[in-house]
Every structure is written in C-alpha cells, then in structure tokens.
C-alpha cells in the first residue's frame, strides 16, 4: 500500500487542472434534461474532445489516452473539482463503450468508439419496457431476422437521453419461442431510423430527460448486433456491471457535493440543527469512504483482479449517499428549498440535485434488486422462493 502519488501522477493532475480551469464553463449549464441544456452539454462534450479528454482510459486508437485507472481517478477528481458538467454521453462512454470494448468486433470498435469519444454520436439506453423494469428478463420487444437485417417491433420506455440522443442500444427478443433470459440479442440502432417514434416523457422535475420509444418494423442491419444472436442477456449484464461498478459514478462527484454541502452548512450554521450538522460531517466521511474504496477497487483491477457482484455494494452506497446529501441540503435551505431559482436568479441546484438523487436508487437496477444480488451472490443466501 502506497498512498502517495508519483511525480508523474502529480504532473498529470496539474495538466488536467490547468485545462479544466481554462475550459470548464464558469456558470453551471442549464439541465441536461431539456433540449437547450442538452445542446450545451453536447457542445461541452466536443470541447472536452478537443482537448482529448473524452474518455481518458480508452486506447489511443479509439479516441482515448490509454491511461490507467489511477490516472482516471485523478482526472475525475480534477473534473469535479473544477465543477465539470454532467456527461451528456454517459450512456455511451461509461456503459456501451466498455461493452463494445469487451464484446465488439474490431470493425465495431473502429466504427462506434471514436465518434463516441469525440461526442459526435450521443447514445441513449433502451432497456426497460412497460412490463419489464426491475424484471428485465420479461422484455417482449421483438427483432425478427430478415436476410441481413433485423426487423424490430415493440416498445421501450424510461430510456435515458432518448428524447435528444442520436443512437440507442438495448436487448430484443430474437427467438420468439424463447423465455426469460434466453433468446435475447443486444442491438445498436440509429434513433432516426424509419419506424421509430419517440415520445418524450416528462420527468419529476418537469423536463423531458427520457423517452418512450415505439418500434414499428424498424430495419436494423445485422452488423449492429453485439456478440452474436442470443447472447443479449450476458452482454446486458456486463453493461449493467459497468453501470453499477467503477465508472459511472466516480467518487469526485460525491466529494464535490460533500464540499458544497459543507459550504452550505457554513452559510446556515446559525439556524442549523445538530442533526443537520452531523449529517454534513457524515457526508464528508461517506464520500471519502467511497473514494478510498474506489481506489482500492482500481488498484485491485490494475493488479489483475476483477469486480463482480461487488458492484452492487457500490451502487447502493453511492445512490443512497447522494440522496442523503441532497436531503440534508434541502433541510439546511429551509424555506428556500422549494424555490427553483433563488432571489439572485441562480438556479437552485440543490433542488435539481435532490430530485435527480431520487432516481439513483431506482436506475441501473433498483436498490432492492441490488440487495437481492448481494444476498444471493455475495452472502450465499437462497434465491427468492427457493425451498
């Protein structure tokens, strides 16, 4: 164990810091969940790419820098230190990208990864269906093979980014006789394909962050299928592992929130309750614990280890921490908590953040599902309903 950064790592941190200080927008961007904010965030993706910061851990040939996970953590720390915006392409770079890296052909990697890293193609995910949320194996949307195409018919919903994104990915039933986890195939599709209708869904905050997707005999070339017909469930589980695991929610995000919470507390110290004070101190501690754990996982992976069902521990921890921090902020804000903009015209980011934090324990597999996974796969308890 060596908790000191090397001179090279320190120099890298200085390089990231200088670039971020010069480029991160001084004012927070309008929320990613509306068209105007989405466009600003896409523009930011391209600014990031102009500095070659799109996805630093990817190989250079795919638009990355080939950096290791400790460097990635340093990058993320500096990104959130500078107040870097949320990543418009997070479904692409954090979820689909690693999935293509693992399962894609060389041709698919060359085709999809560089435009993703450059922010030129923004990706939406399309997992859930009206009858298949937590129970994803219940999906019904069909992809029927017709020559060198699949013909997709069905419906996806609560698709993050799908209101404005360019491409989507999801799993579809390619074997009509199949049930549950079998007979599913992972397919990438152009959201502007003929036959796709997008119905934006207003979210809790009133903006249209996700969408319902209707597929009416949408023709998708078979080369857009990842890892072969019938392999969809395994591929999707790997994608979900990336989502819950290391990359999607790096610790810097929560450490930055904890720091802002401390600052908010200082501004409200006179009227704050002792319980609110302790919640603020606990937030710092939990964000640090999450950071240490992420460094430990990164060190383990760099030494050849893997992360499996442990990803469910992470997902519960960060999502419940995020909600707790924003809840505390809402308490500290008191009567001001309900204002969408404060008297000085500034957006109430704590309110936006609190609303978003309520989705954390739901998306990427609800925390109830995660607790089942921990109980059954890490602790070895019997499956639900087992006798």
């Amino acid at each position: 164990m060596d908790l000191a950064y090397t001179p090279e790592q320190q120099a890298f941190r200085a390089e990231v810091r200088a670039w971020m200080e010069a480029h991160v927008p001084k004012e927070p961007l309008v929320t990613l969940e509306c068209k105007e904010g989405f466009d600003h965030h896409v523009a930011w993706e391209r600014t990031l790419a102009s500095g070659n910061w799109g996805m630093v851990t990817w190989p250079e040939q795919f638009g990355g820098r080939g950096l290791d996970l400790i460097q990635w953590l340093i990058f993320e720390e500096e990104y959130f230190r500078a107040g870097g915006p949320n990543r418009a392409n997070q479904n692409g770079i954090f979820l689909l990208g690693p999935t293509i890296m693992e399962f894609g052909t060389e041709e698919q990697k060359a085709r999809f990864l560089p435009p993703m890293a450059r922010g030129e193609v923004i990706w939406a995910q399309a997992w859930s269906e009206p009858g298949a949320g937590s129970d994803m194996a219940a999906i019904q949307s069909k992809a029927v093979r017709d020559g060198d195409h699949y013909v997709i018919t069905g419906q996806k919903t609560w698709s993050s980014r799908a209101a404005f994104a360019d491409w989507g990915f999801g799993i579809f039933r390619t074997d009509p006789e199949s049930k549950r986890h079998k007979g599913l195939t992972f397919i990438l599709f152009d959201l502007n394909s003929p036959g796709i209708t997008r119905r934006p869904i207003r979210q809790l905050h009133g903006d249209t962050g996700f969408a319902e997707l209707f597929f009416d005999e949408v023709r998708v070339p078979v080369e857009n299928c990842l890892a072969g017909e019938g392999e969809g469930w395994n591929v999707a589980m790997a994608t979900a592992g990336f989502e819950r695991g290391l990359m999607l929610r790096s610790p810097g995000r929560f450490q930055a929130t904890a720091k802002r919470l401390v600052e908010l507390y200082r501004a409200h110290e006179a009227e704050a309750s002792p319980a609110a004070r302790e919640a603020v101190v606990q937030a710092w501690g939990a964000a640090q614990a999450y950071a240490y754990n992420t460094y430990a996982v990164a060190s383990k992976i760099m030494a050849g280890g893997k992360i499996g069902a442990e990803a469910s521990l992470n997902k519960i921890f960060w999502s419940e921490l995020d909600r707790a921090m924003h809840r505390t902020a809402m308490q500290l804000l008191g009567a001001h908590a309900e204002l969408k903009r404060f008297g000085n015209g500034q957006i109430n980011q704590w309110l936006e953040g609190y609303i978003f934090s309520l989705s954390g324990p739901i998306y990427a597999g609800s925390n109830e599902v995660q607790r089942n996974i921990i109980a059954e796969r890490l602790l070895g308890l019997p499956r639900v309903g087992a006798g």
Binding site: R81, Q255, K259, V280, V281, A289, A296, A303, L379, G380
Partner: protein, 310 residues
C-alpha cells in the same frame, strides 16, 4: 499510489485467520466462559506464531512490522473474538513504546513473558491490567478500574482507537457470517428464513456498511504508520465507520437469529458484547465524531475531490 495490501500481507493475515479458526472456535469461548477466561495455551500459541513480536523491531527479537500488518491481524482477532490481550499488548503498547524509544520491555513482550495494558485517561478502565476488578457485559473481558494515572498521549489514543476499529471490522464480518449461516438453515413457512427479502435486505445493508468501513480503517492505519499530520482525523473516521458498521450488524444479526438470538446458547452474543465494549473504548462515538467534526467543519482538513489523500 496503490491502495492494496501486498500478497505477503494478505498471506500473513490468512495464516492468522486459519490458525484462529482452527484453534479458537466458539467452543473455546464457551470453555473460557465456564472455566475462567484466560488460557496460557492460547497465549503461547499466539507467541509461537510470532504475533506478540509482530511490531517489535528485529533487534529486540521481533518481526519489525508496521501498523498496516497489525491492523490486518487485529481484524482477525476480532473475527475470532480473541480475548487474550494480544491487541492491547502487541499492536497498541508495542508501537507506542517504540515511538517513544522505550525498548527495555520489548524483548520480553516479543517472547510472550510480558503483557502490557497501557492506561489512557479516556478509558475509565483497562482490560487485563492490575487493579480492582470490574465486571464487563463481555464475559471474556477482564476489566480493572482505572489506575491512578493514565496517559494523555494522543498517539497512544490513536493506536488504541485504530486497533479497536480494526477489531470491530472483524467482529462485524463474523457476526454477518453467523447470521447468514443461521438464515440458511433455519426453516419457517416451509423455506429457509434467508430466502425472505425482509432478512436479505437487512443483511445486504450490513454488507454495504462493513465493506465501506474497511478502506477507511486501512487508510487510517497507513496514515498513522506514515506519521501524517491528518492521521488523528483518519483514525477517528475509522473508529466511527467501524463502530457504526459493527453495531448495525450486531443488531441485524440478533434479529436474524430471532428468539435464539436472545439466548446465551447462540454464539453470537460473545461477538456482539465485544463490539459493544470496543465501541466505547479508546474514545467513544461522540469523542471521535467531534474530532472529525472539528477537522471538517473547522477548516483544518482540506476537503473536496482533489483531497482524497491530502
């Protein structure tokens, strides 16, 4: 930058774990409880493994290892609910004596002929010391009333708190494991109770709490080993995180055991009572909370994403 134990460190901890699992199971705790709670043979086994000399410099006949190894093994002592005063003697007193340059007793400690319980003013009593006995809820903890003079030394307090935190990790792991094993075999409504989500989710929450307390403790051990100026903060953070994880796990574990959990017949109570005791030892929750509060809100600790290891 590398937040990972070396293979040697992990092998060492594993060997201690295997040794204690093989020689110091629940039946030993029951025998000690029934027959007087120290057994020279157990102590000699620890001496023979070199554990009393783990942190004693090689010149004095020890292994010359640091606080990271000591904390790893303290966690194993917690896992085994070891009652012999190994942690207080070898992982608290020895590092403290070494830090003060007091080497006179180290050879005897390493050889196992000298046990040391250092009094600190924050502890109103000490375990395995000399003085008027007191009864602890933990039947294997031999308390004596606080000696007339106790140290006010912060380094001693930090060592004691760190090693308590490490033991609490092991205790929590063990209690979680006992609860899981019980939930697999206890059948009600025609299925193992562990198949019910009501229990699964509570046990999973314990797993989350324990998993995220661990790196806080290891980070504190490294900070104290390095003599970092922020080490007291990290030790207090570790004590808080480990205490909260252990108390949560103890409460869930007894709940999972149902009425059996409320009996003296189930092994769980030894571990649970040790956790209660260590939660208050070497600075209780309020004490360590206030140290973290003062550093974080008082401004002495730089905070934010770039200060993970500042």
């Amino acid at each position: 930058m590398n937040f990972r134990f070396s293979d040697d460190q992990l092998t060492l901890a594993e060997s201690v774990r295997d040794y204690l699992a093989g020689t110091h199971g629940p039946e030993v705790l029951r025998r000690l409880d029934a027959e007087g709670n120290r057994d020279p043979a157990i102590w000699q086994g620890l001496v023979d493994m070199g554990l009393t000399g783990l942190c004693v410099p090689e010149e004095q006949g020890g292994l010359g290892m640091g606080l990271l190894e000591a904390a790893l093994i303290a966690a194993e002592c917690g896992r085994a609910c070891l009652a012999e005063p190994l942690v207080d003697t070898a992982f608290v007193a020895v590092p403290w004596l070494v830090s003060k340059g007091e080497t006179a007793e180290l050879a005897a400690i390493a050889a196992g002929t000298r046990k040391v319980a250092l009094p600190h003013v924050l502890n109103p009593w000490v375990a395995d010391g000399e003085g008027k006995p007191l009864q602890s809820v933990d039947p294997l903890r031999n308390l004596v009333r606080f000696p007339a003079t106790g140290s006010t030394d912060d380094h001693l307090l930090n060592l004691g708190a760190l090693m308590s935190a490490a033991q609490l990790l092991g205790l929590a792991d063990a209690m979680l494991n006992q609860a899981v094993e019980y939930a697999k075999i206890r059948t009600q409504f025609g299925q193992p109770v562990g198949a019910f989500q009501g229990l699964k989710h509570q046990l999973s929450s314990c797993a989350v709490a324990v998993e995220f307390a661990k790196p806080v403790v290891w980070r504190a051990a490294q900070a104290l080993q390095d003599g970092a100026s922020s080490a007291p903060l990290h030790v207090s953070h570790a004590k808080l995180a480990a205490t909260d994880a252990a108390i949560q796990t103890a409460e869930v574990a007894i709940q999972v055991h149902g009425a059996m959990g409320y009996t003296y017949e189930v092994d769980l109570h030894f571990w649970m009572k040790r956790a209660w005791a260590l939660a208050g030892a070497w600075g209780d929750r309020s004490y360590h909370y206030k140290r973290v509060d003062a550093a974080v809100l008082g401004g002495s600790q730089p905070i934010g994403p770039e200060h993970t290891f500042a």
